[in-house]
């Protein structure tokens, strides 16, 4: 049946598309052209496979078909420019080289995929463009899926992708692995894109839903792929560890009616032990590679403290406060400082935490950030200063963009009212 074949082709595309695009990008030296050619091969598959059946090695078939198109396209393109002519001939030679296509592909696949993702996350692109292009080319998501995930129109996503490809071509970004000296910055851009996707799923900044698990799954898959491609990079394992452990709490994060449930209130029996185990193993790998922990590994180590604690009371808060201390030194930021304040308040009491939070009151980077009044409200309420706490919760509720979170904060404000919850 045709529809069965189409569904099979969709599935194959999801598995193979990044490899095909990456291989083509190496050959034609242009990710935009590579994707077009890969799409052509997909169209050919959609035309032929329902009749002929799916070939034994569909990935190799797609690759070979796309290569043929590449040669044709290069022949036709820009009236036999010498460079293109050479490239086409090169490809043809490769094409004629004998059949161990699989092995030939495998040799290149890892490097091709990495070159592709370093390109789609290139700093020359705006963050939004990096995200869209990476999900599309490296993650195999459709424009529709990306649009749905980020709550923007398909036209917007398509536009971002087109512009990103144009920018890459115009700035002559080479599709290759970054050199040793460039690597830290480029790697951090790649990991940053993956974590941004994860976070958009984990704590949606907009919309009606508090979490969007599908995005977390996409980010996790990308992270796991990166870990297998760069097994010697501790921060890649650090990021995977962080995402696995955070994702382990996804189903405990949503309460009845879709309301947000914060860490301290979560039913820990609902945490996903498989993901926790995978996360702890990834963290061990990051630690085993030596050197001091990077920002992702440190955050993973913090997440691991929570994952290991059977109850909130069992949490090793002094260790978490120390890890935040290390994080604040490595990557100082008001947000990290705010988290450190929370950890300190749990380890050494709300007054100690409040002292740190109050130092952040004038921080311009936190102006309009709902978590500042939210944390302050929490500390004040723990100190029994309920009227001040209510004001803070109300402010926090007015600042958040997420409907579910607003509900939660409004609830906490209401609980500080006289008469609520046994208050006199």
């Amino acid at each position: 049946m045709a529809s069965d074949a189409h569904r099979a082709i969709d599935a194959i595309w999801r598995i193979e598309s990044a490899k095909v695009i990456a291989g083509l990008a190496r050959m034609v030296r242009d990710v935009g052209l590579a994707e077009d050619l890969a799409q052509d091969a997909l169209v050919a598959a959609l035309e032929q496979w329902p009749e002929s059946g799916v070939p034994e090695n569909p990935g190799a078939w797609l690759m070979a078909t796309a290569k043929h198109r590449a040669i044709d396209a290069l022949r036709r393109a820009s009236t036999l420019e010498r460079k293109h002519e050479l490239l086409a001939r090169e490809l043809e030679v490769e094409q004629m080289t004998p059949p161990d296509l699989d092995a030939a592909l495998d040799d290149h696949v890892g490097d091709d995929l990495l070159s592709l993702v370093f390109t789609t996350c290139h700093p020359v692109l705006a963050t939004e463009a990096r995200v869209a292009l990476t999900l599309r080319l490296f993650g195999g998501l459709t424009t529709t899926e990306i649009a749905r995930a980020f709550l923007v129109s398909e036209a917007t996503v398509a536009q971002r992708i087109v512009r990103a490809k144009r920018t890459l071509a115009a700035t002559h970004v080479p599709i290759e692995l970054p050199g040793r000296d460039e690597l830290p910055e480029r790697l951090s851009s790649v990991l940053g894109v993956v974590y941004l996707v994860f976070n958009e799923g984990y704590a949606a900044t907009g919309g009606e839903d508090w979490i969007r698990p599908a995005l977390c799954e996409d980010a996790l898959r990308l992270g796991r792929i990166l870990a297998s491609l760069m097994p010697r990079e501790p921060e890649v394992h650090g990021l995977v560890a962080l995402m696995e452990i955070q994702a382990s709490r996804l189903r405990a994060r949503v309460g009845p009616g879709g309301a947000a449930v914060l860490l301290g209130d979560q039913d820990r029996a609902r945490w996903d032990q498989l993901l926790i185990r995978r996360g702890l193993a990834a963290l061990e790998r990051a630690e085993a590679l030596g050197g001091s922990l990077g920002t992702y590994a440190l955050q993973a180590a913090i997440a691991a403290c929570h994952a290991r604690a059977r109850t909130v009371e069992d949490t090793d808060w002094p260790r978490i406060a120390a890890l935040y201390d290390a994080l604040a030194q490595l990557a100082p930021s008001p947000v990290v400082e705010l988290n450190r304040a929370v950890a300190v308040s749990m380890a050494f009491g709300p007054a100690a935490g409040l002292e740190l939070v109050d130092r952040l009151a004038e921080e311009p980077a936190l102006r309009g950030y709902h978590l500042l009044p939210s944390v302050r409200g929490d500390l004040l309420s723990r100190l029994g200063r309920l009227d001040e706490a209510r004001t803070e919760f109300e402010r926090a509720a007015s600042l958040t963009q997420n409907a579910r979170e607003r509900e939660l904060l409004a609830g906490r404000a209401a609980a500080c009212l006289p008469g609520a919850n046994g208050r006199p």
Binding site: R221, R224, I225, L229, D265, A269, R278, A415, G419
Partner: protein, 141 residues
């Protein structure tokens, strides 16, 4: 979504025949492909049912029956857990199983239940929490 790929038992697995080098290598490559694709979560092979037991309940009382068990084709010889977008993608992965070397096994694919599949069914603790929340809201009004 998660799927469990269940490799059914056959005469060889039930006899405890260890896989030959070629199969081990092919299986290793296959698993490696799934790791590289970021879809493999966990997986293992199982000892023959001769080393297993069944615990049956009758009126809440357990009784333990030693293996082996007769209905070989219904038994399980190994499992793999993967995280993919669709059943079709899971099928696509299973089609790549090194079947020729593995004695043309029968493989079953089953979807793992996820939180949203439970719908309105929450844990008692959560339900209690919700009820408490409701009560608080009513108190205030």
């Amino acid at each position: 979504m998660r799927f469990m790929i269940i490799r059914k038992a056959d005469a060889n697995t039930e006899a405890g025949v260890m896989p030959r080098t070629e199969l081990l290598e092919a299986m290793g490559n296959y698993m490696e492909e799934m790791v590289k694709a970021g879809v493999l979560l966990a997986g293992d092979g199982l000892h023959p049912s001769a080393k297993g037991v069944r615990v049956a309940f009758s009126g809440g009382t357990p009784s333990v029956v030693d293996g082996p068990f007769a209905e070989t084709k219904e038994l399980i010889a190994g499992f793999t857990l993967i995280d993919v977008k669709s059943l079709d993608e899971a099928i696509e992965w299973v089609k790549r199983w090194p079947a020729a070397l593995d004695g043309d096994p029968e493989i079953e694919i089953r979807q793992v239940l996820e939180a949203e599949d439970f719908g309105a069914e929450f844990t008692p603790e959560q339900r209690e929490k919700e009820e408490r929340m409701r009560a608080e809201i009513e108190d205030r009004s």
